[in-house]
Amino acid sequence: MIVWRDRWRRLARRPVAGAAAIILAATILLPLLRWGIVDARWRGDAAGCRAPDVGACWAFIGHKLPFILFGLYPPSERWRPAMATCVLMILLAISASPRRWQRWLLVVWIAGLGLVLLLLRGGFVLPRVATQDWGGLPVTVLLTLVGLAIGFPLGIALALGRRSRNVVTRIVAASIVEGVRGVPLIAVLYFAVLVVPLALRRGLTPDKLLLAQLAVAVFASAYLAEATRAGLQLVPRGRLDAALALGLSWWQSMRLVVLPEALRIVVPSYISIAVGFFQDTSLIVVIGLFDLLNTARLAAQDPDWLGFYTEAYVFVGLLYFVGSALISRYGLWLEQQLARGRAQA
């Protein structure tokens, strides 16, 4: 309370700046509140929403929520993508704490991802669902997670390669990293669907979602490699020398001494890369796949609910916002955890 009184006093002392700020807040916030809450319609059908003086039509979101979340997935089977998303969330929750980063976790992840794929694809007693019909939240989460999971080890390998003493290794790693970082993700996606299938044998039509997943993974690896390289540069040279002097091999020194320290330094960069990829998976729209953003767009193209684009985008915007904010929060928490672990050691 005292803080607020203090702030108001300071504001009152500068009438022009204070008035400008209040006008700015009022011209943005008030219409937004009016549209989104006061004049909004929460129930009913499209006709009710199209009445004059009605603000946001949240009834539209209520009706189309299953479609926005799961896309073209057969409606009777929607429990499967719902379960798959839950499994992915549980996997994330289990692996949040650095204390659990042990070998058994890798096994849990492989089993978990297998279960997710089984649920989404079908098999055994579950009817098959083609990847073209996958959509919405599970696609966004799966592309982000698997892309980063494959990109991470690849990125570390590329970063080590760029710092290698061997010229050929350096050149190969640097060309991959700079080549990928120099072009837009859209170009990489087009490359994956236009050129890569040509290189495969006849009759082998590669799955578009799989190609997009590989493109995202390769793209992620280049950015993760640059972040990792920055971390490696910050580890004092003496650490490696000391490890070598103790009789560790180069690989052992890297794995046990240099990399752990480098990775800890670059946690903030990794987190901002993760947030970026969570959002950038939406670009798969251009190759005709349906992530969360594209299903929202399609929902507003339903003839019954045509044109409620703003509501659709504001709703998925909120989902993206919450997701991104959670990743950022987790990053801060992780930094603290790792710093604490270090202080004890």
């Binding site: 702030r7 300071r10 504001l11 500068r14 700046a17 204070g18 400008a20 700020a21 209040i22 700015l24 807040a25 943005i28 003493r165 061997n166 010229v167 050929v168 290794t169 190969v172 700079e178 080549g179 970082r181 120099g182 072009v183 837009p184 859209i186 170009a187 087009y190 490359f191 236009l194 050129v195 299938p197 040509l198 290189a199 495969l200 006849r202 070598l244 009789g247 091999s249 947030v275 959002q279 950038d280 939406s282 670009l283 729209v285 251009v286 953003l293 767009r297 507003a300 044109g307 684009y309 703003t310 985008y313 504001v314 998925v316 915007g317 993206y320 916002f321 991104s324 904010a325 950022s328």
Partner: protein, 318 residues
Amino acid sequence: MVPSPASWRTRGALGQALLGLATVVLLWWFAHSVRGGLAREGITLGFGFLHQPANFDIGERSGLRFTPEDTVGRAIVVGLVNTARIALVGSLLALILGFVVGTLRLVDNALLRGVMRAGVEVMRNTPLLLLLFLLIATLHTMPPPAHAFEPLPGVFLSDRGLVLPFPHTPRFVGFNFVGGTTLSPEFAALAAALVLHHGAHISEVVRGAILAIPRGQRDAALALGMSPWQVSRLVVIPQALRAMVPLLATNCVSLIKNSSLAVAIGFPDVVSVLNTTANQTGHGVEAMAIMLGVYLALSLGVASLLNVYNARILRRGA
């Protein structure tokens, strides 16, 4: 057992040779398979198709002449000019917005700071494509030009796009506006989305760079009797600017790369034109080569300019 340097060197040389060989073989295999795939579809590699008529129209031409009878090569040039136009307008406005917002986030007014922070957080935590879709959907639901919405005097918003009061104040004559500059809905939406998104990111760079200047510098300058404005102009900004130039440049490059999102809303930038070309002519491989070449040239060009800049700064001993 510490291996001797000599054995390291032999193992290293062997490894290098193997890696080099593997890379070459992999690239050769890929090129060979792609050629085989193309042969099966009856397409021969080559840039001859650039001289064939395009057979598709381009909605936005940035003042260039273009008809479907013109060559594919010319279509790509129109796409490139469109990309250049969006890149120039976008980078310039994003830099201005970034500086304004970045500075406003440091003023002594909690409400103003709060509003700016909220805006930046919204931009940083939602996808650029979402903003782009939202803007284009909003522009398409604007009233027709006859009932255009006038948010500022002389600026009109309609379902035909945005009309700006240059060189003259626009007047509504017949079916459309004359006298002003009309931006298509696609251009306006793409430019606005890129400026808002990257402006927010640039504002963080600006804020970070200013905050990184040690507090003592400011205090010392104030103690010397400078006014707060002089302190900013003569002490803080020159130092902050030097620290932020590389980050500003990378931000502008990523803005240009993100301008390829144009393809999602049908603005004919270079990626969009090349994609159409690939679908129409079947020369996807060549189109991809041009696309990758254009962006790589841009990124590597900016990277080498930055190296020159850094070298100059280091020589000056900053």
